[in-house]
């Protein structure tokens, strides 16, 4: 899919030439092992580097320049995958070929290089007023989780099941660490990111890969680095099991259930587990939707997600708190049915077709191409969508039954306005 160029040790460029889009899309990703302190500092750093840079030294100046460049999109972001934390610099600009003027793409490359290498500094550190303000912004983003009950409940489930580990550390860090940050901490995080992180640069659009790789190489003068590898967890990560019920002022009950499986991303059984999750609760034809919603009318949504890097499957559903026990029992029944081999040919075929469709569809956006390639590229044998789809084809009902057999329920979490007693066993 993408042509790979090695710019330096630990720094790779991936270019995909396509005429499918009217724009050129860029993403630079800096990766390092995840810690709560690191994520917190890097979240504030990402915001500072989105605000302005040396060439465009205020938010309004930078935004005004972007508007003038035909509304070029520029933003930074933080994310996590497995045990790693990412800071990304993202841009998308209209391809010059569709405009009456040239230079928009080149300008965007310079903007990204400036954003990474020439931040808006004063006396050797980020400007204090920008640092303070963006620290505040990140704190507010963290606390706003409380207002979104579905996300809040999912985060609580992860915290309870896997406390203080990458599964439950948010990409934005936490309030305690962000609150304690000083300007020097963020500057240190910046220096470390620039010199030590593994770097992947993505470009998708109607550009010539060879010529473009030269442009990127000279705009981004990265030095070689040997990226740190995340230490394997020494002990199995375990938190609370059983049930935890918590209350907030709200009408609906948010039922979130956590399961674990030893089947991880990239293993031989991984494609089988993707299908297993799809049959369980990945789609509107899946067991959860068909039974919890369509048959019993207990919920508007009931779905499962496979967090393959962590060996976790989580189910979420919004239910009347009075009906939560009934819904939880019905969810258990669906998994038990799969363990007993109750999987129809139709369910299996539908799920194969839907997974294939989902993958092919995702590739119809530049960002989707980058996301998917980035996730799968380092698997042995590389990645092509059709080769991956072929891995789902031969999976049988017996395989699904076997996969379902590895799934164990760990924790039922209910957030609701209803009075309930806590009865978790740790």
């Amino acid at each position: 899919m993408f042509t790979e160029f090695r710019l330096a040790e630990g720094v790779r460029l991936f270019v995909r030439r396509t005429t499918q889009f009217k724009t050129v899309t860029f993403s630079l990703r800096f990766r390092q092992p995840m810690t709560a302190a690191g994520a917190s500092a890097r979240a504030v750093l990402a915001n500072i580097l989105e605000d302005s840079n040396e060439t465009h030294p205020s938010r309004a100046a930078l935004r005004s320049a972007l508007e003038n460049m035909y509304g070029t999109l520029y933003y930074t972001d933080v994310g996590k995958r497995g045990d790693y934390h990412y800071v990304s610099f993202n841009a998308e600009c209209v391809n010059d070929k569709l405009l009456e003027e040239e230079g928009v793409v080149d300008w965007t490359v310079r903007l990204l290089a400036d954003s990474v290498f020439r931040p808006n500094m004063q006396d050797g550190n980020f400007k204090p007023q920008i640092f303070e303000r963006e620290k505040q912004t990140v704190l507010e983003r963290l606390s706003s989780l409380y207002d979104d009950k579905t996300r809040f409940a999912q985060q609580r489930l992860m915290q309870l099941m896997r406390p203080d580990s990458p599964e439950s550390i948010r990409a934005t860090g936490d309030e305690e660490h962000v609150g304690a940050l000083a300007g020097q901490d963020v500057l240190d995080a910046y220096k470390r990111m620039i010199s030590e992180d593994e770097v992947d640069i993505y470009v998708a659009g109607d550009v010539d890969p060879e010529a473009f790789s030269e442009e990127i190489r000279s705009a981004f003068n990265f030095e070689g680095r040997i990226p740190a590898v995340s230490p394997q967890a020494a002990t199995e990560r375990r938190g609370k099991t059983g049930r935890v019920y918590e209350r907030q002022a709200m009408k609906q009950g948010k039922l979130h259930i956590g399961f674990s499986t030893p089947v991880l991303f990239g293993t031989e059984d991984f494609p089988k587990m993707q299908l297993t999750n799809g049959i369980f609760g990945g789609f509107p034809h899946s067991k959860l939707f068909m039974n919890v919603r369509e048959k019993e009318s207990l919920a508007y949504y009931a779905a499962s997600s496979y967090l393959s890097r962590y060996g976790l499957i989580t189910v979420s559903s919004g239910v009347d708190p009075e009906q939560a026990e009934k819904a939880a029992a019905l969810i258990d029944e669906q998994l038990e049915a799969m363990k007993a081999g109750e999987i129809s040919d139709l369910e299996l075929d539908q799920t194969k077709a839907m997974l294939a469709n989902q993958l092919r569809e995702a590739l119809d956006s530049a960002r989707g191409q980058i996301e998917i390639f980035d996730q799968y590229k380092d698997l042995p044998g590389g990645f092509s969508p059709e080769a991956w789809i072929a891995k789902w084809e031969p999976v049988t009902k017996e395989d699904i039954q076997k996969m379902a057999g590895t799934i164990e329920k760990e924790l039922v979490y209910l957030l609701s306005g209803k009075e309930e007693s806590d009865d978790a066993d740790a």
Partner: protein, 431 residues
């Protein structure tokens, strides 16, 4: 079949009006592996008072019925439509807005079986008292889910403030109480009135051969019979120009107050490029006044009055229009006061000239070209524009036609203090 070429955009659009009145548009996109097909009726939550097809008296149907009908279209005597799309590897969905109900799928395979499924399921209603009752539990949970979302409550609270009796103030899904009254007979009555092909539009975009697809849809429609189309008679209450309630707040369990500053706007009866210009002028003016390069944004962000949740939104449909400027804010009163001061000062002396407009025109041109990467955007927006008498692909010529005077004209209704309203969601932590 009519062909419309948009050379500068490198796009070609195919159009045909079928004998039964159905509008069909097809836009092939090179390089795409998926096709997105939507089938939309010009019928939404605001259409609650109308003359049923073949009858002479107006009826008033329960709130939330358009959305309820959308849900029920997926259940048939022989099972669930999602299952059938699933078997074809297509993801299907539907949504109901104030003025439209859309059914859609996207697929990378089995394009014609999926298209047939879409056309046929939307054109074969099947409602029984039993299936209608069953749906009330599901939609009840959907309504409760929205009730718990403070951002939705803030947005809808602001719209409720603006309108005295126009049905745009009613939540699209209705309430648990209003949907309790819905019967299968109601659904059939709404269906027959609003789902006539002459009130509907098909848009197919992506990996699609226009000739083949047009022939397929033509044949599918020719095999079905429909009543003679009648003009649809809808009734809307008279609405004053001023906001109904100038200020209101509710309490919820939120970490930080939420505030929406809303302005009720006139909705002149325009169509074509004039309508497009009117809409673009209002949007550009909002960007200039409150967007990320504005003095307002710079100051309000420095002062901590706004955060990452800040945004503006302009909505314009046949019969109503409004703008909302909203954020989470530690000091919602001060935020609202700053918005008022910004509008008053702009009305006193118009702050934007040709330079500011030119920059926004470049930005909007780029945004439009970028949006054309998304086939979902094209299908949804094209349908909306067509139902409102506009053409999405006229956006660039309309932009090029805009003058500073158009922005000045757009400011007049926005600065009308009688049309302003503020809605707040305030933290309620004491229990």
């Amino acid at each position: 079949m009519r062909t419309l070429e948009f050379d500068r955009l490198q796009e070609t659009l195919y159009h045909e009006e079928l004998p039964n009145g159905l509008q069909v548009f097809i836009l092939p996109k090179k390089g795409f592996s998926k096709t997105y097909v939507s089938f939309t009726t010009k019928y939404g939550s605001i259409d609650n008072t109308f003359k049923p097809l073949g009858k002479s008296d107006m009826v008033r149907v329960p709130d939330g019925i358009a959305h309820f009908l959308e849900h029920k279209m997926f259940e048939k005597e022989d099972g669930d439509v999602f299952q059938k799309f699933g078997a074809n590897g297509a993801s299907a969905n539907a949504f109901t807005s104030f003025t439209r109900t859309a059914y859609l799928f996207s697929a990378t395979d089995n394009l014609y079986p999926n298209t047939e499924l879409l056309l046929d399921f939307v054109q074969s209603p099947y409602f029984t008292e039993q299936t209608v009752e069953k749906e009330k539990g599901i939609i009840g949970q959907e309504i409760t889910m929205y009730d718990d979302q403070p951002d939705w409550r803030a947005y809808f609270g602001a719209i409720e403030n603006l309108y005295k009796s126009h049905p745009v103030k009613i939540d699209i899904a209705g309430t648990v109480e209003s949907i309790a009254d819905i019967t299968a007979d109601h659904l059939y009555e709404c269906y027959h009135t609003f789902y006539h092909p002459s009130n509907m539009l098909v848009f197919a975009v992506g990996a699609v051969d226009p000739e083949e697809m047009m022939a397929f849809i033509r044949e599918n429609q020719a095999a079905k019979t429909f009543d003679k189309p009648e003009p649809i008679v809808r009734e809307f209450p008279q609405e004053p120009a001023s906001a109904d309630v100038p200020a209101r707040s509710i309490k919820m369990d939120v970490s930080k107050p939420k505030v929406q500053f809303a302005v009720k706007l006139p909705h002149p009866d325009l169509s074509g490029i004039d309508a497009l210009k009117h809409e673009l002028a209002a949007e550009i003016l909002l960007d200039l006044l409150f967007g990320r390069t504005s003095d307002f944004f710079t100051e309000a962000y420095e002062e901590g009055l706004i955060d990452e949740s800040f945004g503006t939104e302009y909505t314009s449909e046949a019969g109503f229009a409004f703008a909302v400027i909203g954020t989470d804010s530690k000091d919602p009163d001060k935020f609202a006061e700053k918005v008022r001061a910004t509008l008053r000062s702009a009305a006193e002396k118009f702050p934007f000239g040709q330079d500011a407009l030119d920059r926004q025109l470049r930005r909007r041109t780029g945004l439009f070209l970028r949006a054309l990467n998304s086939i979902e955007y094209i299908a949804n927006q094209f349908t909306r524009y067509t139902f409102n008498g506009m053409n999405l692909f006229d956006t660039v010529p309309a932009l090029e036609d805009l003058q500073v005077k158009d922005l000045q004209d757009a400011l007049v209704p926005l600065a009308d203090e009688q049309a302003w309203s503020v809605f707040q969601v305030l933290p309620d932590k004491g229990e």
